[in-house]
Symmetry: C2
Subunit: 75 residues, 2 copies
């Protein structure tokens, strides 16, 4: 279960990184747009965080995608 | 933003409750299946919690739905 969650976090982090890069933003710019700390954002993209709904929403809003779209195909 | 998050939490809580009831489970049974505390589950269904990815995953797995499906139409 723990391993499963970590794998999922990694897939989600890669998805977020991909969407962020597609918009041409550095991690620092993106963190600023999301209102999140830069080092925190780095750990989210590396799949090291059990992110909360609030952070997920902030990230999805910054990327202009729906949460359902952000999770699509990940599980 | 805070109000927006609270509204989203409420919509998500109602969605979870609806899916749980459709399966004929009491809140107590459902909490047990998810491996979460019963009173915590109650507060999730009332939209009072900024749930983590781990709890969202546990809930979606118990309901046998994908996270993308659980969020569909909520935002």
């Amino acid at each position: 279960m723990q391993q499963d969650l970590q794998n999922f976090q990694k897939r989600l982090g890669l998805r977020i990184r991909e969407l962020r890069k597609r918009r041409g933003w550095s991690q620092e710019e993106f963190a600023h747009i999301c209102g999140l700390d830069r080092s925190y954002m780095g750990s989210v993209e590396r799949g090291e965080r059990n992110v909360t709904l609030a952070s997920l929403r902030a990230i999805a809003k910054a990327l202009n995608v729906k949460l359902s779209a952000m999770f699509k195909g990940l599980d």
